[in-house]
Amino acid sequence: MNRYRHAASGVLVPLAALACWQLLSVMGWVNATILPSPVQVLIKWWAYLRPLEVFDPSQGSYLKWCFSGELIHDALGSLYRVLLGFGIGGGLALPLGLAMGYSRVAYGLFNPLIQVLRPIPPIAYIPLSILWFGLGNPPAVFLISIGAFFPVLMNTVAGVQNVDSIYLRVGRNLGASKLTQFTRIILPAATPYIFTGARIAMGTAFIVVIVSEMIAVNNGLGYRILEAREYLWSDKIIAGMFTIGLLGLGIDTLMSRLSTYLLKWHRGLEQG
């Protein structure tokens, strides 16, 4: 009962906002080209999602036809770039972060360079990325990798450096080798930090993918909303924006579920 009431109060404000928005449009108080009504956006969104052709069995399976809509293609394109960039950036940052957190020597060697590069926003790499990689997926993935790299790196370093020394003392007392200490104590103790880093990295990857698609690629959600602007299709712009929001929310929810599951031992997650 309480749960339903809670859920109901959660949709109250969005519904009211939609109603106001719809009212503004219906009353003609705003120009429909600048701000289309929610209903109009929904209709456009459906058209964007729907397959373009009529179903034709000779062209392939029904399932394939279902996924032939423009929006699905764009969303999958963006998702692909996000995941690839996140994988490359995070994949490089994790071992480097572990090394820098564990070894003072590695930290001393890499930290100065990292501190100089870290404040440069990934967006600033756009000109170079196009010079180096041309157009298409490679520059986009490169930019996303940079965006995902630093959050994972910084959090991994902090995670390893903040391992409570009592655990290491217990490990030594039990006779653990350096390798065992690392794999069975330091690594699991650092995972809450690493997960936080990964979640921030995923958020950054999402920002960067939209920007990079506006510049270097000719599909994807970022490209599509910029293209829609050329035609003054503001309903399509908003439909694209909502899709980006939903996709981001979906990925963040998945990551949060995954970390709650993997870190079920962790005290801090009891409430969340």
Partner: protein
């Protein structure tokens, strides 16, 4: 006591820490022989170096001068022959109860079936069998220290070091675990070196209670406790000893307080 009989032998041990440009003499000229199977409590006010001495025996921080030997071999590093139960809840939070207990055996390279059997035996011994799959965060303080004890027992080490293990527990849980430790000690015939600042705990548990002085930590008094077990904390004999130890500890506590006042004046 002759050399052959002593299990742990501490001779002429000094420990000097550098702290903020000043040298702190934590331990000075400590000589202590502990026999095999003996239960010895180190008692003293905070800052008397009792944990420092325990850490030296554990091998975490080696003495500045002097030697500590176990069975005649000088200690140079920590090792599973001297299992330690820590003051804080030092269980690995990412491991379940059984994984925590099994960890030492896995390091040793014990066969899987043997680990399984040993872990089950220990969990049964410490009344933890219903909590095998739980994580430490779901256990009470007393339960966690039971797991910590089981983890050390898994090593089959002849020596058990305990660093104020029950300091954070409520009185009932504490007594309960003290009885448990006594039972295990008698059953498994371990040599126990137990650090505490509670006079009653020391008298309830130990064969011998060693009182330490405040900085520099030296041995002030070595008292044989010959009361029969289980000990009655309300008996006149117990309270006589308690009074004597109280007196000794009070002297050290006042030296501690004076030192703190002096420190405050300098600051």
């Amino acid at each position: 006591m002759n050399d052959a009989a002593s299990h742990i032998s501490i001779r002429g041990v000094d420990k000097v820490f550098a702290s903020g440009g000043q040298e702190v003499h934590a331990l000075q000229a400590i000589d202590l022989e502990i026999a095999r199977g003996e239960f010895v409590c180190l008692l003293g006010p905070s800052g008397c170096g009792k944990s420092t001495l325990l850490n030296a025996v554990a091998g975490f921080s080696l003495p500045t001068a002097g030697v500590i030997t176990v069975d005649g071999t000088t200690i140079v590093s920590p090792g599973p022959d001297r299992g330690m139960v820590f003051q804080e809840y030092a269980l690995f939070p990412w491991m379940t109860v059984e994984q925590n207990v099994a960890f030492g055996l896995q390091i040793k390279g014990t066969a899987k079936a043997a680990i399984e059997a040993k872990v089950s035996e220990l969990l049964l011994m410490l009344n933890l069998q219903d909590f095998r799959k739980r994580y430490p965060k779901d256990l009470s303080g007393g339960m966690r220290q039971r797991v910590a004890i089981a983890r050390v027992l898994a090593l089959d080490s002849p020596i058990m070091l305990m660093d104020e293990p029950f300091g954070a527990l409520d009185a009932l849980t504490r007594r309960n675990l003290q009885d448990e430790v006594l039972r295990l000690w008698m059953e498994l015939k371990k040599t126990v070196l137990f650090v505490t600042h509670s006079i009653e705990e020391a008298l309830y548990l130990a064969d011998r209670t060693v009182v330490m002085t405040y900085r520099p930590g030296t041995l002030k008094r070595d008292i044989q406790v010959d009361l029969p077990r289980p000990r009655d904390v309300a008996s006149p004999e117990f309270n006589l000893l308690k009074k004597e130890l109280s007196q000794l500890l009070m002297e050290e506590q006042s030296r501690h307080n004076q030192a703190e006042f002096r420190g405050a004046a300098v600051d």
